[in-house]
């Protein structure tokens, strides 16, 4: 167990090198339970690599970290059991019906068989998707798919859910609806770790970190960051920081 029970993610001097390229350069931070933590950075800044290490998909080169109290380097199986994950490709099976997707992921995350129908009904009700139970996912609008994917990723009530650019490509109205779901999950005690491109979304986060060239250049609440960089919006903060970047997208 971690020293501080309130911190569900603790990262210290985490580094990942691919050959001579340092994708993630000595980053340290903590995320508290129930927090919505925004993980920002330009493409190629190292967000995805950092997130993959936290999810137990990739071994750190050096440094250490715990997620839900488990070491990310040595206990990745335990880590996986306690997290949810939603990627930018929303990762639902397009040729399966809405409820079949729910059943599959409930099965994967070990929801007891007897409880699966109950869980599915609850989810359909809270999403207002009852009438779409038998719709194939490919026939849903993109915004609905993303809401569904998010709900599926927390079907097993994980301690933390990792969202990798979850709202790519949808309109602002749908994004707002999506964030309502995120707030609801956070209110239920699920910690949300989210990467995003959209700076208006950064404003919704409790705290935000901004990565530039593999390092965390800023980490604070949106209000404090704006004060610190004497900016009126997160967009401006980000632009000021990102200007320093030497790395470009490859």
């Amino acid at each position: 167990m971690s020293k501080n029970n309130m911190s569900v993610i603790q990262v210290k001097n985490l580094t990942k090198r691919f050959g001579t390229f340092t994708a993630v350069d000595n980053i340290s931070f903590e995320v508290e339970k129930g927090e919505i933590f925004g993980f920002l950075g330009a493409n190629g800044a190292g967000k995805t690599t950092a997130m993959r290490m936290l999810c137990g998909l990739s071994q750190p080169t050096s440094g250490n970290g715990t997620v839900a109290g488990f070491d990310i380097a040595t206990q990745s199986e335990e880590v996986k059991r306690h997290i949810g994950y939603m990627s930018q490709k929303f990762a639902l099976y397009e040729d399966l019906k809405v409820w079949e997707n729910m059943r599959l992921y409930a099965g994967i995350y070990g929801v007891p068989r007897a409880e699966i129908p109950i869980v599915i009904d609850q989810m359909l009700a809270s999403l207002g998707f009852e009438s779409e139970k038998n719709t194939l996912v490919k026939d849903l609008p993109l915004g609905w798919k993303q809401k569904l994917a998010f709900s599926v990723s927390i079907i097993h009530r994980p301690e933390i859910v990792f969202l990798d650019e979850p709202t790519g490509g949808v309109d602002p109205a749908a994004r707002r609806q999506f964030w309502e779901l995120i707030y609801k999950a956070a209110a239920e005690g699920i910690t949300v770790f989210v990467t995003t491109h959209y700076m208006d979304e950064a404003e919704y986060c409790h705290r935000v970190s901004i990565m530039v060239d593999g390092k965390i250049e800023a980490l604070d609440t949106p209000a404090n960051l704006k004060k610190q960089f004497s900016a009126t919006s997160m967009d401006e903060v980000f632009t000021k920081l990102a200007r320093k970047a030497e790395r470009r997208e490859n």
């Binding site: 996986k80 997290i83 990762a91 099976y93 399966l96 079949e100 599959l104 409930a106 070990g110 990792f162």
Partner: protein, 391 residues
Amino acid sequence: MKDNIVKEKSYAFALRVNNSQFFAFVKKEFLYIFRDTWTMIILLLLPILMVVLFGFGISTEIKNTHVAVFDPSRDMATRTIVNRLSESEYFIVDKYLNDISEVESVLKNGDYGMVVVFSENFNENMNRGTAAVQLIADGSDPNTASQLSNFATAIINQWRMEDGALKMTGENNSQFSILNSQLKLLYNPTMKGAYNTVPGVLGLVLMLICTMMTSISIAREKEMGTMEVLLVSPVKPFTIILSKTVPYFVLSLVNLATVLSLAVFVLGVPIVGSFWLLIGLSLLFIFLCLCLGVLISIVAPSQIVAMLVSAVVMMLPTMMLSGLMFPVENLPLVLRWIAQVIPAKWFIEAARDVMIKGAGISAITTELLVLCGEAVLFLVVSMKRFKIRLG
């Protein structure tokens, strides 16, 4: 004591979870296949289509070839030969040419596979040994041409023996001397193409289902992003791979049954050897194909690459080099070497031996060993690659 109970409980829980994960997955995979109409068509109809096509349509055997005759003699002997040719199932003699100059145009046209030319006064000259018959076949398809002339030669030879034409001393005549050549076919005396086709189609179909479909379905998960989610989930990668192969394993068993029943009941190809040996051999090959499919899908980043690799690297050589279309012995040396590493080649050879020659397990030991070796190789390499990709 208390500790023990807790341990047992958690162990039971772990097992149950893994089982339900596995079944949830297999169920999903079947749903996916059933819902995709084109996949279903490919999986269930293609084998039938292939057996029927290769068995009846694209047969390499020669049947009902149209033959034209130029016969200036028009006597007893030539008429008997022509009758003998038409009576056989290979030839239909339905054109008499009026002039020798027509030979070329008739063959060029493509409607006639062969022209039989008799010398003048054939019957009379037979006794003097100067009677001659010439077989002119369309050499644009050399295999067919040589088979046609072989058959015709055999028929004419038989006539010579039976009709006492032995008296004639035509052996010094160059055209007649070829008639001495004799062809004897073992195991497949009527040269029925289906005998060769069935094991070949079996190899091709199993490769298609197990290698191609498996690799595409795993690559699809990578492409759709679902694989990433699965890797982040507590499901063991091994469970993912295993549950992906189960549906294709079941389907390939259905196809194995379809192809074999079609072969026996429709094409009339007997299973001379042990039925269970043939099934065992097929199961080994199915296992190998699944391993290969997994390996391809691990290397290939997308569905289209997986499909191309399976199609170009595996299916094409299988068709060309496995003896399904041309005998391996006739290939250039380099291609013959390549053929040695094609798994399907070994399977098809062994299946042919068991099905048609009735060979026992001792006769196909080499093939079985090669197939086992290759299966283990594919399995080990894909396990290694899978771990590297995760790290």
